[in-house]
């Protein structure tokens, strides 16, 4: 059997659906920009202050906007019966779920990563610090997408999953937040930061190899208790 066809079909289906609901896909990135740009207004426009809080602010805002985007993940597939057809397809569920996460990352994670250097400038970060910020988000955000998708898959069958979802997901997000913002802070203080980035890379490898399997099993369980 050719495995690339269903993967590509799933990926393009999800991207197509996302781009036809433009308002919805803009939400995480608008949230990200708004939160970060409110800090100079609320705390202080002083470059020294912004430099010291900048890395943390950007990372927290990115984390929260991914958390925000999780609410709609799998929801419509689950409600309109597509999920049943996906689970009953003769292709491995993990393959199809990988396509699903890649699409989700393109729509929610990638825009945050692309726009982050601009927000770095806004908070007076130096060029090499912005570079490290960019790399740390590039490694960290896909992890947030994948681990978040696991939590969504586990809770999608519940009626009021919102609060439970955040509770499940935040402890798993904390290591990435610590390594990510710490790498950027270290870069700003001219300290070595490769260790933190390597940790992010290791977590990314772990999540990307295991999460498709976990997500597909979790969805199977969620679907069987409808």
């Amino acid at each position: 059997m050719n495995y690339s066809n269903p993967f590509v079909a799933m990926l393009f289906r999800d991207l197509r659906i996302a781009f036809r609901q433009r308002a919805e896909i803009m939400l995480p990135v608008i949230f990200f920009v708004v939160v970060v740009s409110l800090f100079p207004l609320a705390i202080s426009p002083d470059p020294a202050v912004l430099k010291s809080i900048g890395p943390g602010v950007i990372w927290i805002a990115a984390l929260l906007s991914i958390l925000l985007s999780l609410q709609s993940l799998f929801r419509s597939d689950f409600n309109d019966g597509s999920m049943e057809q996906i689970l009953l397809s003769p292709f491995p569920g993990s393959l199809l779920m990988l396509a699903r996460i890649v699409a989700q990352w393109c729509v929610t994670g990638l825009p945050l990563i692309i726009i982050s250097p601009l927000l770095g400038l806004l908070l007076h970060l130096e060029t090499h610090v912005i570079f490290v910020l960019f790399i740390s988000l590039l490694l960290g955000i896909p992890y947030l997408n994948m681990v978040g998708a696991i939590a969504v898959a586990l809770t999608i069958g519940l009626r009021q999953a919102g609060a439970l979802l955040s509770l499940l997901v935040l402890p798993l997000y904390v290591p990435v937040l610590i390594f990510g913002s710490n790498a950027v802070i270290s870069a700003a203080n001219d300290l070595p930061y490769t260790g933190q980035l390597l940790w992010l890379a290791a977590l990314l490898v772990l999540a990307s190899t295991l999460s498709p399997f976990v997500i597909s099993s979790a969805l199977r369980v969620s679907c069987s208790y409808r």
Partner: protein, 213 residues
């Protein structure tokens, strides 16, 4: 297009299925067997567990006790093989509101591993959606959305059809086209398991009936 390649020695067997929700017995020790060229008609009032039984048979849910086998192999163990033989249509159509008729149909065929898209045009004509190829799902009526889901019965070469209320929301013309398609499928050695509140009688089709509730 017509499913002439179906093999004629398949068997779907259920052994003593039991399923309960909140201590209420929904399915109470059901056993049956359907072979190639046969139809199983599941009857019962609302809430008698027809949909639950079909979801268990499709592998979407697991029975608390009992076993389902396809050609003497448990469907749990041979899920990919079983899914290849299976077309399941449930209450929800799986039609995406944002995608056009053609995009929905093409996704269904990619999902079942069909290599080409040339069949989709014939399928669209069969369900009478010609002229609606580019309409997004949200602009279609419930009946039209069901018709999109039904194209899978024409395109997928599966041996086993499990259909939950296939006639819901359809007009008379589509119902009779569907009945003809059912007959062809069973006569070609396929297996048909369905529920319906409508009384259907397919002549020259080997039908067994299962009463629930």
């Amino acid at each position: 297009m017509s499913s002439t390649t179906l093999s004629d020695n398949n068997e779907l067997r259920a052994d003593n299925l039991i399923y309960e929700i909140n201590d209420k017995l929904i399915i109470n020790g059901i056993s049956f067997s359907v072979k190639s060229g046969e139809m199983l008609f599941i009857e019962g009032s609302n809430g008698s567990g027809k949909t639950t039984l079909l979801r268990i048979l499709s592998g979407l849910m697991q029975a608390d006790e009992g076993q389902i086998t396809w050609n003497d192999k448990s469907i749990e163990d041979e899920r990919i093989d079983y899914n290849q033989q299976l077309t399941y249509l449930g209450h929800s159509t799986g039609v995406k509101a944002e995608l056009s008729t053609l995009e929905n149909i093409n996704f269904f065929s990619a999902l079942s591993g069909l290599p080409q898209k040339e069949n989709s045009q014939t399928a669209i004509e069969w369900v009478g959606l010609k002229g609606n190829e580019d309409s997004p799902g949200r602009h279609l009526s419930y009946g039209q959305q069901r018709r999109i889901a039904l194209t899978r019965l024409l395109m997928e070469p599966s041996q086993l059809w499990i259909l939950d209320e296939p006639f819901a929301g359809l007009d008379k013309k589509m119902i009779s086209a569907l009945e003809t398609r059912f007959k062809d499928h069973v006569h070609n050695g396929g297996i048909l398991v369905l529920t319906s509140h409508q009384h259907i009688e397919l002549d020259q089709v080997n039908t067994s009936r299962l009463q629930l509730g």
